[in-house]
């Protein structure tokens, strides 16, 4: 039953992500925490696995439109390990509550960005850097 729920969450999260251009993490993490009752840290970890196929498929599709600067993207990825290690260490060192509260603050920030975008209209400010994305 839980696996059916997970698959449904994946499909629903992916659909909203595709609609809005926001990606896995911001949807999967709270969905895992709230609907599947995972502790925050496990929700983060499992969501990271789920994002990999989504990002691979997204890259493949975007590449067909000529939107991917592959070299730059791979450099950003290749130079991320220090940050990744720091993030993983801190996430496992702090309390679950602290992680939850700071994640909630991040959600509110993204919600505010979406609100601005929604109020501005469908095609206003398309180069605005503050638009929320995956």
């Amino acid at each position: 039953m839980e696996y059916v729920a997970a698959a449904l969450l994946g499909f629903a999260g992916g659909t909203v992500g595709g609609l809005l251009g926001v990606g896995g993490g911001i949807l999967f993490v709270p969905a895992l925490a709230i609907f599947l009752d995972e502790p925050q840290i496990r929700a983060v970890a499992t969501s990271l696995v789920a994002i990999v196929p989504v990002a691979i498929a997204g890259t493949w599709r975007q590449r067909a439109y000529g939107n991917v600067r592959l070299r730059d993207g791979l450099i950003v990825g290749a130079l991320s390990p220090l940050g990744v290690a720091a993030g993983v260490l801190v996430a496992n060192a702090v309390s679950q509550r602290a992680l939850e509260v700071s994640f909630a603050a991040l959600l509110l920030f993204v919600a505010a960005q979406l609100l601005r975008r929604g109020l501005r209209g469908p095609d206003g400010g398309s180069t605005d850097p503050a638009r929320a994305r995956p």
């Binding site: 839980e2 696996y3 698959a7 994946g10 992916g14 659909t15 909203v16 992500g17 595709g18 609609l19 809005l20 990606g23 896995g24 993490g25 993490v29 709230i34 840290i41 983060v44 970890a45 499992t46 969501s47 990271l48 696995v49 990999v52 196929p53 989504v54 990002a55 997204g58 975007q62 939107n67 592959l70 730059d72 993207g73 950003v76 990825g77 991320s80 940050g83 990744v84 290690a85 993030g87 993983v88 801190v90 996430a91 496992n92 939850e100 700071s102 909630a104 603050a105 991040l106 959600l107 509110l108 920030f109 993204v110 609100l115 929604g118 469908p122 180069t127 850097p129 994305r133 995956p134």
Partner: protein, 119 residues
């Protein structure tokens, strides 16, 4: 590639990595805005390039969290694979649904989730 540009890409990678390790997010919240602000990418290019970076970063962060025993691999795959179908459906649907309405509904949803997590 100039040293300056490489440093910017390194800073973006490090920041996105930290957010991914901590919160499981990073592409849209970190990479896309910084590629646009610092490197003058267009939004579509920033989004596409961010996805390529996220493949690597999410993989590294998943391995890191896996070392702590936090990863449920089966559940991750069970969410990730249908999510690919969802993204494709959502992208197709995007052409027909007013974006501002979806943005506003989703903003409300995220705010509600934040409150749910806080109380």
């Amino acid at each position: 590639m100039s040293r300056h540009r490489l440093l910017k890409l390194a800073a973006i990678g490090t920041a996105a990595g930290a957010f991914s390790g901590l919160f499981g997010v990073g592409g849209g919240t970190v990479i896309v805005p910084l590629l646009i602000l610092w490197l003058g990418f267009g939004e579509r290019e920033a989004t596409g390039t961010s996805l390529a970076a996220i493949v690597v970063i999410a993989l590294l962060a998943a391995i890191g969290q896996g070392l702590y025993g936090n990863v449920d691999l089966l559940e991750g795959v069970l969410i990730g694979v249908p999510a690919v179908a969802g993204v494709i459906a959502g992208t197709a649907l995007q052409q027909r649904v007013p974006e501002r309405a979806v943005s506003l509904i989703f903003a409300a949803l995220l705010a509600a989730i934040a409150v749910e997590l806080l109380v």
